[in-house]
């Protein structure tokens, strides 16, 4: 078993556990007790798997846990008209070591700029949406939440910075949003939320419900 395998596995397990814990911590969700039993089992199995890797490669697990404990989580959520997430992508960024980034379920090496990661997240969300068959396709809202004010400030105020690649990326995302809008003939709202992750997600969903007005131009 290689170190790379351990790393991929540990980051996947940690993100799966984190995802389910986040869902259970949000009072919008109230799974039935029988469903909870299975979700609890998943969390226990994740803990066992992490303990197992920790025996072999303690540094990997400790780094991941401290990363999640710092709660520097950013996420891009596309909410449906009816209040449920259709797509949610999350990225954990260690601001002290920006090269360490983990998307939900997989590692993305090389991306060191939080803004680029955000845009990647939107990209992924939009491409997921365009291939998704069961959605009520009246409107989508891209809600971006972050629990770190510094990241949000960077995102909002530094978008005009002269970095050529960043500018290209920004234009490209805007083009994708525009293309999706034309393709699906739906309004798309882009909103930034500076808030901690759970509260931000909740606020995003509430705002999505308020924003989704089919008659809005």
């Amino acid at each position: 078993m290689s170190l790379a395998d351990d790393f991929k596995y540990a980051s996947s397990i940690e993100s799966i556990k984190h995802y389910i814990c986040m869902m259970l911590a949000d009072d919008l969700y109230n799974p039935h007790v029988d469903t909870m039993r299975h979700l609890d089992k998943i969390i226990n199995m994740c803990d066992e798997a992490l303990a197992d890797i920790k025996k072999r490669a303690p540094d990997i697990v400790d780094n991941l846990i401290s990363l999640y404990d710092r709660k520097i989580i950013v996420s891009c959520t596309i909410a449906s008209k009816y209040g449920s997430n259709m797509y949610s992508s999350g990225v954990a960024i260690d601001l002290l070591a920006p090269s360490k980034q983990y998307t939900m379920g997989r590692l993305t090496p090389g991306a060191t700029d939080p803004i680029q990661v955000y845009y990647d997240s939107i990209y992924e969300g939009l491409s997921y949406f365009t291939t998704w068959q069961g959605a009520a396709r009246d409107a989508i809202s891209i809600q971006i939440c972050c629990d770190n004010e510094r990241v949000i400030n960077n995102l909002i105020y530094n978008l005009e910075e002269s970095d050529e690649n960043l500018e290209k990326r920004r234009k490209s995302v805007n083009k994708t949003i525009e293309a999706t809008r034309k393709l699906l003939l739906i309004p798309i709202y882009l909103t930034w939320y500076p808030a901690n992750t759970t509260a931000g997600m909740r606020a995003a969903k509430r705002a999505a419900n308020q924003q989704f007005d089919p008659y809005r131009p």
């Binding site: 596995y9 996947s12 799966i16 995802y19 039935h32 469903t35 979700l39 209040g83 449920s84 379920g105």
Partner: protein, 66 residues
């Protein structure tokens, strides 16, 4: 079924579990080791069971509403 202004909480939970399932499936694709894959498949199994459970509960809720 009449779509309400807000989705049924049971359905919302199902969506979230489906997303968790997609995270696990991504992880299964990402790992090369067989033991790791087996463990992840066990996680997937529990996710499927949770989904099935929640689906049954939601179906019962809909029947009651009718």
């Amino acid at each position: 079924m009449v779509i309400k202004s807000n989705m049924d909480p049971n359905e919302v939970v199902m969506w979230e579990i489906r997303l968790a399932r997609s995270h696990i499936m991504n992880a299964i694709i990402a790992v090369d080791d067989n033991t790791m894959r087996d463990n992840l498949e066990q996680l997937l199994l529990h996710t499927e069971k949770a989904l099935e459970m929640q689906d049954n509960i939601w179906a019962r809720t809909l029947i009651k509403e009718k």
